[in-house]
Amino acid sequence: MTTHVMRALASAIALTLCTALGAAAQERPAADPPSSDLDRAQAAFQAGRHAEALASARRVADAAPTSVRALTARAGMAEFMGEFDEARTFYDRAAGLAPDDAETIYRTASFAVRVGEYDRALTQLDRLLALHPGHVRWLFQWAPTRFQAALLRDHPSLERIVQLKLDILTEKGDLEQARRLARAYAIVQPGQNYCAQARERAGAERDEVFRAFRLATLGQPDATDCIWWYGQWLSDEGYVRLGRLMVIEGSRATASAANKESGVRYVRIRLGRNREVPKRAEQLFLIARQRYLRDGDINGASRLFDESIRLAPAFARPYNYRAMIAADLGDREGALAWLQRALRADPDSWRTHRNLGRLFEALERYPEAEMHLRKTVQLFGDDAGGRLALARVLYAQGKYDDFAKEARAAVAFLANWRAPVPEVRDFLAKFDRWGPGAALPPAPDPHVIMGWNYD
């Protein structure tokens, strides 16, 4: 046995070392040498070295304060990194230097939409339209729908205007007007089954899924399930504002009383009910999440999460991420404090109860873990992962009958979703045969229902 175990250890060490050392020694593929500092900054950005890219772009813009390209590059990278004040400053400077530059105007408008400054965005779009020749403007504003597809194809900047206006109308909650606009500019066509197309794309790249569901929402007002799933998908992605609008729209339009009730519950326990989350706060949260998960930028992410919390104190998600960062750094007490703040901000947050339960479980504070995990499955009865976590906590406290009941319920539910959790089944079989063992039961967390997997 010794040797078998040593083999496992040796393999693990070798694997770990090889992976780690291999990654460390890996050389990036040679690229064409950058022709300028700005090119170097953009190459770094393309390579995913975002912080380095922004630092370079700052130097370049400072050294060339009259270069529209340098100022716009800095603004774009700052926007991408969630440094919104800096982005605004440099977009404005670029626009001041090139007031009729279509690209600068468009990016300024797009940035305004990102931070929820819709009136400002519309003003910019009007300026962008004004740059087009008179006959093009006339056609864009007055020509029948059958001419618009070709017009937008020939003038991509016009399509950009339409798409941004669709976003603005949708985000402001005026879905009817957005649908009229989409029809008027042939963005959606009658008779198309956009919903079916969107369902086919489930699991595709994010942008593709996003576009497909967006079209379904605009083109098929009666496809309530699709609108509903769009809302839940957006919620998973972190777009809580639009997600809430879509879930509410799907619930409003559905004929099913059960679905209406489910929608109300979803908004309450998953999207903070009617707690206001300004667009800027939402976007800061989204970017902070990326800076942490993608870049490992703890300081930058923490600062943006904190800013998001300042702008939207009742928005539970950034607190949960601050807790995650603390826990990842080994500060479990700090994580606990963040989660408790999250719960004060939004007592019905299913995710917060779930995270608290799991954290208390890790701290072996089982009674508190049980309390929060019971609340978790009470809020969302189909949460099989939460139920398995509850089962584990019950087992740890010697509540074996309750453990078996919850674990079996979760296993039965997951079987319907083709998630067999064999490790849990195996554990239950042994438990039934031999009684309690020394190890705690496994508590996997399979992602089976869209809208309940990420924050």
Binding site: M1, T2, T3, H4, V5, M6, R7, A8, L9, A10, S11, A12, I13, A14, L15, T16, L17, C18, T19, A20, L21, G22, A23, A24, A25, Q26, G48, R49, E52, Y292, L293, G296, I298, M324, D328, L329, G330, K430, W434, G435, P436, G437, A438, A439
Partner: protein
């Protein structure tokens, strides 16, 4: 696997009083004051003396049917000295418990094995770097220091009633016999013996009851799980240190490290489970079914579960801290670019 790497890691099993995994190069000696020392070199004549005889009678075993009789199979097992019971004058101390269970001895073997695995092969790096690595391994993976971590971590989980029940079991003739078998099963050449034994199993398979008892033992002690936890702790320490020492843009965030550790653990768990049956069949071939049943019964008792749980936490915590420090110091002393791929990978190419 070389002799120097024939070490202990199966603390899961070992600490659960299952087959221990003592390094072939681990030696136990008792000095003139009765202090027990473990070392990876043989005791010298002047520093060794015979263990003192037991000062107190062995307490009554609280496990039913714990018959001390040795069967025919047991006589085939090379006799190995079980840990010497410590004289009792009051409540059992944690040190005594760890001594009785063989955990302390097994820790030495584990650390020796770990150091061996982390030590670069000759020629992998410069002599100076090699010397730095050796020095760090000697200093940080020092047996007594890590043992102190284990003891301190174990103390956090002490439950007096369960501790005394466990100690009573460990002082029983049957438990001592099991520890002896565990030691015997970790002597040099065990791997070959297990392989040979596994071949005989094909023609002379174990009884269903035997298989059931061993499966149940693994369930009751969580031996495989504990071993996988230890592998995960080692993986975590190495990954964290190497990632932290690498270029900033390639560093893993803590959550990503945990994901990788989970993958390593899952892989190790599978391998450990596969090896478990043959290894335990070999290690416990000297036990009668009734003896094994008694062992299972203790392991499944409240005291047994407490002991295994507390030991699991203590070992994982202590080993994790030791590996964290070791790995951090290694990559600080010898930068990553002066390490080459581990020898195991190079050999497999």
């Amino acid at each position: 696997m070389t002799n120097r790497t024939t070490v202990v890691l199966l603390l899961g099993v070992a600490l659960a009083l299952a087959p221990a995994t003592i390094d072939a190069g681990t030696y136990r000696s008792v000095d003139a004051q009765g202090n027990i020392t473990y070392s990876d070199r043989p005791p010298q004549p002047e520093e060794t003396r015979a263990p003192a005889p037991e000062a107190t009678p062995v307490p009554e075993v609280k496990v039913p049917d714990a018959r001390p009789a040795l069967g025919a199979k047991a006589r085939d097992v090379k006799a190995s000295a079980p840990p010497t019971p410590i004289a009792r004058t009051g409540p059992t101390k944690v040190d005594e418990l760890l001594e009785l269970s063989g955990a302390r001895a097994q820790l030495v073997g584990l650390l020796n094995g770990l150091a061996s695995e982390l030590r670069p092969a000759p020629g992998q790096m410069s002599a100076k770097d090699q010397a730095s690595v050796d020095r760090i391994l000697r200093q940080v993976l020092r047996h007594e220091a890590v043992y102190a971590l284990v003891r301190d971590a174990f103390l956090l989980h002490v439950d007096r009633t369960n501790l005394e029940a466990t100690a009573a079991w460990l002082r029983s003739p049957l438990a001592r016999k099991i520890v002896a078998l565990a030691i015997a099963s970790s002597e040099p050449g065990t791997e070959q013996k297990v392989v040979a034994y596994a071949a005989t199993i094909k023609t002379n398979p174990p009884t269903d009851r035997r298989v059931e008892l061993l499966q149940r033992l693994d369930w009751a002690t969580a031996a495989t799980e504990i071993s996988a936890d230890l592998v995960a702790a080692v993986s975590r320490g190495i990954t964290t240190a190497v990632s932290g020492a690498g270029p900033a843009e390639q560093r893993l965030r803590p959550g990503q490290i945990e994901d990788r550790v989970a993958q390593v653990r899952a892989r190790a768990n599978g391998a450990l489970r596969e090896a478990h049956m043959a290894s335990t069949l070999y290690a416990y071939r000297g036990l009668e079914d009734e003896e094994l049943a008694a062992y299972v019964l203790f392991s499944a008792s409240e005291a047994g579960r407490w002991y295994n749980s507390a030991m699991r936490k203590a070992m994982v915590s202590a080993l994790g801290r030791a590996v964290d420090q070791t790995a951090a110091e290694l990559v600080r002393a010898v930068p990553l670019d002066r390490w080459r791929a581990p020898r195991r990978l190079r050999r497999s190419r």
